[in-house]
């Protein structure tokens, strides 16, 4: 699962561009439209055309509007799967949409930074939620590190980056968000730097910080609860952290050495962190054994 998740991450940048282009061609040949029919709700008029942001294996994410032109929203849509029995498919889709919405609503109430839920139509397979401004943490970190994705390969700039203060701070904020998530009894199931956003704060649009550190400013907002579950198991929590650690290792190898700062932020936000971090050692060990076996 982890490997397919990382492949997903690697194609993220490319995918994002190509699907935005698909969305822009609203007058495209009908074959294209037929291949990607949007949910019925998006066929009704809106001030700006809905924009397809990503198309994953499981679902699509559109940027559109909620109630008024001034309220942007994210619409997550799980289209019917033609290869699955219709009744079973409808039941699974319904359950998954509701599970994701339920977790978001619970997190939001408990003060975990997640998008608010606006509206759900589980029968039609969609979930409308607050649009989070900003960029995925992955993008912010890569920009800061000076890495550029070229032809799918990460190219590092050769430069001594002594001042890691802003990055350390970001890592702690990530740990804080994950700590608060776990404290509320939810594990994310797919913690990567693409599934957290850096939302500009009101102050950060001003002069504070400035320069290169600016790309690391903002509040962490956790997104994509498609694989989340309500759990208070130390094992599940440790796996959440391990997945994030591995994601750092593969997408930001130069930030991996700072992963301890995530754990520091986690510890500060979550009283039971101690036991989880002990469990994390076991989980890491198992992971190492597995990779030695090939």
């Amino acid at each position: 699962m982890l490997r397919c998740l990382l492949t997903n991450l690697e194609t993220y940048a490319k995918r994002k561009i190509s699907f935005t282009m698909t969305a822009a061609t609203t007058s495209a040949p009908s074959t294209v439209e037929h291949e990607f029919p949007p949910p019925k709700v998006l066929l009704y008029p809106s001030s700006t055309a809905p924009q397809l942001i990503t198309q994953g294996a499981e679902g699509r994410l559109y940027k559109t509007t909620y109630l008024f032109p001034s309220i942007p929203c994210a619409l997550k849509y799980r289209p019917p799967k033609p290869y699955r029995h219709p009744t079973l498919d409808a039941r699974l889709t319904r359950a998954r949409i509701l599970a994701e919405a339920r977790v978001l609503v619970k997190c939001r109430r408990d003060g975990v930074p997640v998008p608010a839920v606006y509206c759900v139509d589980e029968g039609a397979g969609w979930l409308m939620m607050e649009w989070v401004e900003g960029v995925p943490v992955r993008m912010g970190i890569n920009e800061w590190l000076g890495e550029r994705v070229r032809d799918g390969e990460e190219v590092e700039e050769e430069e001594g980056r002594e001042q890691k203060g802003a990055l350390v701070d970001l890592m702690r904020r990530i740990g804080d968000a994950v700590g608060r998530l776990h404290k509320t009894g939810v594990v994310h199931g797919d913690l990567t730097t693409s599934n957290m956003m850096l939302r500009p704060t009101r102050e950060s649009s001003g002069e504070r910080g400035g320069g290169r550190d600016k790309v690391l400013e903002g509040d962490i907002v956790l997104i994509d609860f498609g694989l989340a579950t309500q759990s208070t198991s130390e094992e599940d929590r440790a796996v959440d952290l391990y997945v994030l650690e591995r994601a750092f290792g593969s997408t930001h190898p130069r930030a991996e050495s700072l992963f301890d700062e995530v754990l520091n932020g986690y510890r500060a936000a979550f009283k039971q962190a101690g036991q989880v971090l002990k469990k994390l050692e076991d989980v890491r060990m198992r992971g190492r054994k597995r990779s030695m076996l090939g």
């Binding site: 019925k40 809106s46 001030s47 509007t65 909620y66 939001r108 509206c119 759900v120």
Partner: protein, 196 residues
């Protein structure tokens, strides 16, 4: 005319939504009896304003009702009853009417009217027609449907109880305006799930 026409995103243009707020209503009992008798002239959503937090929350309920109407999955008799039920975080319809609908003693009332063409009704009444019928039948003072006016009507302890907002960590350390906004968002989330 203090009747606001709402233009909602993802709603067909020939659907018209009007909303008004009346304070100090003296004949809520009469209005309620017309609803109970299913008098076709009284096809409105009459909502107890003391149970509502904000414009955002109320308009969110209107949109939710319209979306199930458009989807063909409406669960109550019509779009107006659906609006009242959309405000509830539970699936219990009679409880929804009790909490968000009106009784003989309701003083401040939000009125929503949804009009759309049907096979038997191609020509829709105008906004003036709607307004005239409302003012002839609702005895109270029409005020703008604004967050300011609404927040004066809200029974905060009651609303906090209805949406289980007491002790919600999300509300900690927020200023008054921020708090109302966050409460509205939490209410929208609870309404979206309706206890399922």
């Amino acid at each position: 005319m203090t009747l606001e026409k709402l233009h909602l995103e993802h709603v067909p243009d020939d659907y018209r939504v009007y909303v008004g707020l009346f304070k100090g209503v003296t004949n809520a009992g009469h209005l309620q009896s017309q609803l109970v008798a299913r008098n076709a002239d009284y096809e409105y959503a009459f909502i107890d304003a003391s149970s509502v937090l904000s414009r955002l929350q109320l308009i969110g309920a209107v949109y939710k009702a319209l979306s199930v109407l458009l989807d063909g999955t409406i669960k109550t008799p019509n779009v107006h009853s659906e609006i009242v039920c959309s405000l509830s975080p539970s699936n219990n319809i009679s409880e929804a009417y009790r909490r968000w609908g009106i009784t003989a003693t309701t003083k401040d009332i939000i009125i929503v009217k949804v009009l759309f063409p049907t096979e038997t009704r191609a020509e829709l009444p105008s906004a003036e027609d709607v307004w005239q019928h409302i003012t002839e039948n609702v005895h109270g003072a029409a005020v703008p449907f604004s967050d300011d006016e609404l927040s004066q009507c809200t029974d905060w302890p009651k609303v906090r109880k209805y949406y289980k907002l007491n002790g919600a960590p999300a509300l900690d350390g927020k200023g008054e305006e921020e708090k109302i906004r966050e409460m509205s968002l939490l209410a929208l989330g609870a309404m979206a799930l309706r206890g399922i």
